[in-house]
Each structure stands twice: as C-alpha cells, then as structure tokens.
Amino acid sequence: MLTKLLKDDRGGMVFLIILSLVAVLVPLLNIFVPESNPLHVSTYTITLLGKYLAFALLALAVDLVWGYLGILSLGHGAFFALGGYAMGMYLMLQIGDRGVYGNADLPDFMVFLNWTEVPWFWSGFNHFWFAMIMVMFVPGLLAFIFGVLAFRSRVTGVYLSIITQALTYALMLAFFRNEMGFGGNNGLTDFKDILGFSLQADSTRIVLFIITAIALGLGYLSCRAIVVSRLGKVAVAIRDAEDRVRFTGYRVDRVKLAIFTFSAVLAGIAGALYVPQVGIINPGEFSPLRSIELVVWVAIGGRATLYGAVVGALLVNYSKTFLTAAAPEMWIFVLGAMFVLVTLYLPNGIVGLIPKRGAKA
C-alpha cells in the first residue's frame, strides 16, 4: 500500500522520512538534552514547529485543488478557520469557571455580552468527539454547498477565485460581529486545557506537535492516494481540458465537488491542530489576504507535487517568523517579492529546482 502510494514519488518519500525523524527527534531533544546544550529544542520552538506543520497540512489541501484540479481557491483560509473555531469552541467550554468572570456555564465573552445561556449552536461542543466531528463536518459542508452551487453552474477560472474570496470575506465580516456568538473581534482565546491536559504543559505541547506531524503525514498519504488513482488523473485532465473530460462521460462537477470537499476537510483539520498550539482563533483567519497567502506558499514551494506545498509553507512561514521579529513592516513586501520572483523565474517553484531522476519523457 505505502510502496504503491510512493512509487515515483522520491520527493514525497524524502519528505515523509524527514517528517518522521523530526517527529521523533525533536521531542527527544527537548526532553533529554539539557537546556544549556545548544542542541536542546525549547518547547517554544516545538510549538512553533507544530504551527508550521499545521500550515503545511493546509498547504497540501490547497495544492490538491489548485495543483491537480486547477481550482485556484482563494478561500481556503475559511475552511481552516472554521475547523479552528470548532476546536476553539470545545476548548472554550473546557475553561469552565476559570475565566475572568468565573462563570462555570458561560464563556467570558458571553458573560460580557450579558447573555444568560450558551446559544444552541454551541451545544455538543463540550464533548471532544462532537467537536472533532464538527471540525471536519462544518468546513466539509460549506465546501459541499459552495461546490454544488459553483460547479453545477460551471463557474471556473478567475470568477471562481473571486467568489471564493467573497466567501471568506463574508465569513470574516460575520465572525467579527458579537451577535454571531463566536467572540467577535477577539475570537476565542484563553484556553486552559484539552481533554484534561493543560495546554501550558510541556508534555501537552509535545504531544500536540507529534499529533500534528502524524496528521500531516497521513494527510500527505491520503492526498497521494487520490492523486495516483484514476480519479487523480481525471482531476488533472479537468485542469487541462475540462470539456474533453465532460465529453468522455465524466461528471466534472461531481469530481470537483468530491475533491474540493475533501480538501476543505483537510483544511479544517489543519485549523483544529493550529488553534490549541497558538492558543487563539479570531476572525483575522478569514481575511482574504490570509487565503491569498496560502496560495503564495504553494506557488513558492511548487504546484502539483504535494511535497512542494509543504516545503513552501514551511519556508515562507519560517521567513515570516524570522522577519516579523526583525522588521515587521517589511513582511508583506518580501512575500510579494518572493511570489513575483518565483512566478517569473521558477514556474515549478522551489522543488522544481531539484533535478528529476528517471522522469517520464
């Protein structure tokens, strides 16, 4: 099974090996190497890495629809944020009476709004399993409904990209509103623990990091499973000659719908892994610019390779962390410049620089 998925995928193999090594070594270096030693990896770094890995999973989701299916989604940030909010709602309800207002039934922001009870759509989120289902279900459902409307009526290209932007923008405006019941401007934050484990504890952070690494690995393999199947070939065919696919007897709208929905679910999972590690989710995640940034990661890393998306996400986010510390106002220009340079000189992204051995003619 594994060998079949990774056949002809040297890059993917290398990536998975490195990922496994990192998932094992980084925690070891944290636990067993004393802090004075330069090889010690701080818990702060681990959480930072965990965040990058969650972004990498999101980038995979974007590459699946953009690189293979040809849908330039500029709204994947919305699916990520929805997954994040679903997780955040669970974490919020775990705070209990440890909030500022000490109200055992209501999250702080609801107390602040003088609400007397938790709105109906928060019910169930005190159960971890329910929240995890919602992490996948809510983004999946939104993508499904969006897809039915957009793909049936054959909206493609720039128009489709624009409505994905509109989608995430509309959600941002909605989530900014206090009456929506998702914490408005401030979003959801001040989380205390997950499944009874303190989010501040080193061990919890390490476990979250490992889980994120595993999720990324599995996400990669599941995307690979789609890509190597005939469905994946149909996807590429749709990207290159949609009409031909239709006249060959495939329901293009359903293929798009299935892959787009799957991708949104992946993005949702990425969001859910991100939130407990960074400790906050707010409407900023829905901002149109955020979604555009994701596409830039994939473009920089290299489209339609999957591992390229991972490389792009890691690289860009590392530079971002580095640069926003050094010169925050420069970041947006650096990002723009990277994008322009890559589009002009590296159409296949950074991974396109790696010479292909035994490449098919």
């Binding site: 199947s229 005939r230 290159d240 000659a241 329901r251 293009v252 098919k360």
Partner: protein
Amino acid sequence: MKALNNLRNFARRDKVFDFVDKPTNRAVDTSHGHILYVEDVTVSFDGFKAINDLNFYIEVGELRCMIGPNGAGKTTMMDIITGKTRPDKGSVFFGQNIDLLKMDEPEISQMGIGRKFQKPTVFEFHTVFENLELSIAGDKDVWSVFTAKLSSEQLDRIADVLTTIGLTENAYQRAGALSHGQKQWLEIGMLLMQNPKLLLVDEPVAGMTHQEMDRTAELLTSLAGEHSVVVVEHDMDFVRSIANKVTVLHQGSVLAEGTMDEVQNNQKVIEVYLGE
C-alpha cells in the same frame, strides 16, 4: 386528486420509477435503421441563426461526410447533438427512443456518442496510455473512478486501440509531445475506448500530411459499419476518398445531400461553395 393520480402512477407495476429508468440504462433502439434523427433544429446566437431549421438522419453503420463553408454551422450542429448547446427548437433523437435534448454531455457520452473536437483536444499532461485509460467505457461516478483498476481485458483493449491508431511506440510519451496529426489520432482512439455507437469527428485531417490523411481515411472507413460515423471536413480530396453520402450545410441548414458526384454537380452547391 392530483396526489391520488401521483400515487396511482407511483404504484403502477408496469413502469419503473423515473430515477431508476435513467436514459443511460436504456438501450438505444435503432430498429428502423437510423441512429440519429435531427429534425427542425434552430439555434440562434444573439439573433443570428447559426442553425436554421436543420434536418438530417444518419443510418446505422453509415459513414457520412458533412461539408460546408466556414460558419455554416457544422461545429454548432455537433455541439447540439452532444449536449453542449441547447437548440431553441427542434428535436434530436438517438435511435428512436432517446431524446438527446433532455441529457447533458456526460450522459450523452455514456449513451454512446463520442466526439472529436475541431481543435484536437487530448490530455496533454498524461501519457498516451493514460489518455486511453481515462477514456475507458464504464462506471464513471467518483467512487468507481477512485477505486478503478485496469483489468486484463481493458489492458488488451488499450493495446488494440494503440495499434489501430498507430501509437503503440508512443504509449508512454506525454500526449503533449505528440505531433498535431498524432494528437488527432489519439483523440479518435479516445473515442474508440468509449465504445461509441456514433462518432462525430470534426475536421480530423486538419494539419495532416498526405500520408497521414490516407491513414486517417483508412481508419475512418474501417470504423464505419460497426460504428456510425459523421465526419466534418473541409478537405475535398479527403471527403471524396471516404464518402458515400455527403451532406452540404449552408447558413445552418442542409443545402444538398447525395453522393459526392451528385453534390458536386448540384447548381446551388456550386454557387455557394464549390464554385467559389
């Protein structure tokens, strides 16, 4: 009352439910000898009638050539048959029983109508082999496609088609790397993989050398009989080399129909087309 009627209809034993009776589950009925009926079809784009009261019939196993000057409506006619364009009026039947105007492109393709585009369209990124694999007839819903594996019969079928279209040597080449003529053949091969009953072939020899044209003529004539084939072509020599029956389109309707000789001697045809 209406509800009761609905209930009665629902309970009828001699009929299957509509959702079970998908057109694609029905076999095409050609007992009257015709595979395609195009009757009184009109299409206008912004008031301009691209197809104007078009009528013609294609027999089972026939090889029909359609000619006509640029803009005569030949491609639009194929768009209508394959579900890409909806006519303003008229009817298009596949056999006696299947109303093509009620179906969309994938359904029509699944029914057994294959179409080659005027501009050769293959999946450039995929290999020749993969192009044929993707065109295999069969279940094309998402899950079946995701889990699809090539059976040995299917592999044989691909090998056969590769031989037929002369691309065996190029099987593992990217389709994008093929010559123009080879792409045309590959596209015909892709149609063959779908086991169509009717092939609509739009300008198959555009951009081909004389040798290639001869081979294409051979290929298309060999397909007739088992399949019904409609060929749209501008190249008169080519048409003469394959046609029994020729339909001349002009301004969206049939100007003349008959053997190549009859058509060539038809006064109206000479005026608008051949004599130009």
